[in-house]
């Protein structure tokens, strides 16, 4: 069966499709999240060095991975919006930014909480944590730019350019921060030196990562539906939506 993908490039046809997909992704995220949490909290053995406190990596690492992955996805949709001038691509990019920022924030908070019992400090200028902080600033910059521009088309394209410039710079920033950190290694040990991984721990992290990915897809689809309704509100098909009927 060949699907006419271009049909779904219009917000009017994508809206109901997204609505049908959301429950599946949400359920998948919930199921895998419970399984992953079970593995992480109950099944995985106590770590030799760090005790029970290490278990927070089952949230920290998936959140950090998602934060970086979502930025690339956002830049990808931005590139599509610039190249093909499609509204829906820009709306997808607009929907991803807040979730990406949230993932970054979770990664920073959990990383900070992990540092306290393990290394005695809430914040050490570790290479990865510092890069996460800068990534948070990049996300907030995209969100701030979108809020600052009134015209939606100009905002779409400006944010697309900004996220592409950011995406090119993220590896450079990470490399420079790593360089800076290794030079000043001094007394502090890397905060994210994960314990030697038992296979069950890796499995747990993988399952939690997939759960985070499914959660992100579900939330982004929900948000893009809201964005579609807001931005297309002059169209005829919006007025006929059952959820908007009084």
């Amino acid at each position: 069966m060949s699907i006419n993908w271009y049909k779904f490039a219009s917000p009017a046809s994508f809206y109901p499709l997204a609505g049908r997909l959301i429950p599946w992704f949400a359920m998948g995220a919930a199921v895998l999240g419970i399984v992953g949490a079970w593995i992480g909290l109950v099944i995985a053995p106590t770590d030799f060095q760090q005790g029970e406190a290490y278990r927070i990596i089952f949230i920290h690492v998936p959140a950090a991975w998602m934060s970086m992955f979502l930025y690339l996805v956002m830049a990808f949709w931005g590139a599509l919006a610039l190249g093909f001038n499609t509204r829906l691509s820009a709306m997808m990019a607009q929907a991803i930014a807040p979730t990406g920022a949230l993932m970054t924030f979770i990664a920073l908070c959990t990383g900070s909480l992990w540092g306290r019992p393990t290394w005695g400090t809430y914040w050490a200028w570790d290479a990865r944590m510092t890069s996460e902080l800068i990534l948070l600033f990049l996300y907030l910059g995209v969100i701030a730019l979108r809020n600052a521009i009134d015209d939606p088309r100009r905002a779409d394209r400006a944010c697309a350019v900004l996220s592409l410039v950011g995406a090119v710079n993220v590896p450079i920033i990470y490399f420079s921060v790593k360089w800076w950190n290794t030079l000043h290694q001094g007394s502090s040990v890397s905060l994210t030196a994960a314990p030697r991984m038992a296979a069950i721990m890796l499995t747990g992290m993988l399952i939690m990562s997939i759960a985070a990915w499914l959660y992100a897809i579900a939330v982004v689809l929900m948000r893009v539906r809201a964005i579609i309704v807001e931005r297309e509100r002059g169209s005829a098909w919006i007025a006929q939506l059952p959820e908007l009927a009084r």
């Binding site: 009134d150 015209d151 939606p152 509100r233 002059g234």
Partner: protein, 273 residues
């Protein structure tokens, strides 16, 4: 609206074209705003076979009686935010014609002009130049265009002469100082040419823009509210420049809510509502 003296009252112009101008039909868009295209003047004339343009210095070859559509808009629409400014708008402008776009504030005159200049793309429909559909910032159009925007693009710190040279150099690569001075003299700014633009009045700043139009060797003039701040002499100068430009085969599109007295020129009006 546009005042033109009846044909019978004037001497026959040397630049006249065969045949009647085609009457354009109006299009209505259901539920949208209506664009009314009114053909304001049409006249018959005879055209010589070859003509020399005094300032262009090139021979012109007239081959048939139907003028070629140089600038064409097909079914274009524009939105500002969620409101639709106009829709289903179609018109053509041929060489040697002036198109005056009228309408109240907020009807989209400036938006339409900026679309014709290639600064933004229409929400739907196509704009074509010389038969080729245009993308925004199309290089061919940029080489053929003189755009006079709402603001005269003058730098306060530069003198009138420096401003004019700079703008002409931006469009043509370099500016011959003699021609720049001559152009300033022609717009009655000869004595003010060493003054910084900061101390010039609004009308004088506008005149520098007129001098720029006269200097540039461009076919398509897009003028946004060209009558702003001009006194009677300035308005007469503007009308003369447009009339000469159009008479020599150029195209002038002006968005204005003030009447421009374009005597002896082929003028059409597009009223946005």
């Amino acid at each position: 609206m546009i005042a033109t003296a009846p044909a019978a009252d004037r001497d026959p112009s040397p630049w006249r074209l065969d045949g009647e101008l085609p009457r354009l039909t109006s299009r209505k868009e259901a539920g949208g705003r209506t664009a009314i295209i009114a053909l304001f003047s049409k006249r018959k004339a005879v055209v010589p076979q070859t003509t020399m343009r005094p300032c262009m210095d090139v021979p012109i070859d007239h081959e048939s009686t139907r003028p070629m559509a140089m600038l064409e808009a097909q079914d274009i629409s524009a939105r500002r935010g969620l409101t639709r400014l106009f829709a289903g708008l179609s018109f053509t402008v041929q060489a040697g014609e002036a198109l005056v776009i009228t309408g109240a504030n907020g009807t989209g005159k400036t938006t339409l002009l900026r679309m014709l200049a290639g600064l933004s793309a229409p929400a739907s429909g196509t704009i074509s130049w010389r038969g080729q559909p245009l993308q925004p910032f199309d290089p061919t159009l940029r080489s053929a265009l003189a755009f006079a925007g709402h603001l005269p693009a003058l730098k306060d710190e530069l003198t009138a002469e420096e401003n004019l040279s700079s703008l002409v150099a931006l469009s043509e690569g370099d500016a011959d100082p003699e021609r720049v001075r001559a152009a300033l003299d022609e717009v009655a700014l000869g004595r003010q040419r060493h003054l910084p633009a900061r101390v010039l009045s609004q009308g004088q700043r506008r005149r520098i823009g007129l001098a720029r139009l006269a200097l540039l060797n461009r076919m398509l003039w897009l003028l946004d509210e060209p009558m702003t701040s001009l006194d009677a002499a300035g308005a007469a100068l503007l009308a003369r420049l447009i009339g000469e430009h159009v008479g020599h085969g150029g195209i002038a599109v002006a968005a204005t809510h003030t009447a421009i007295d374009l005597a002896d020129a082929r003028v059409r009006t597009l009223a946005l509502s």
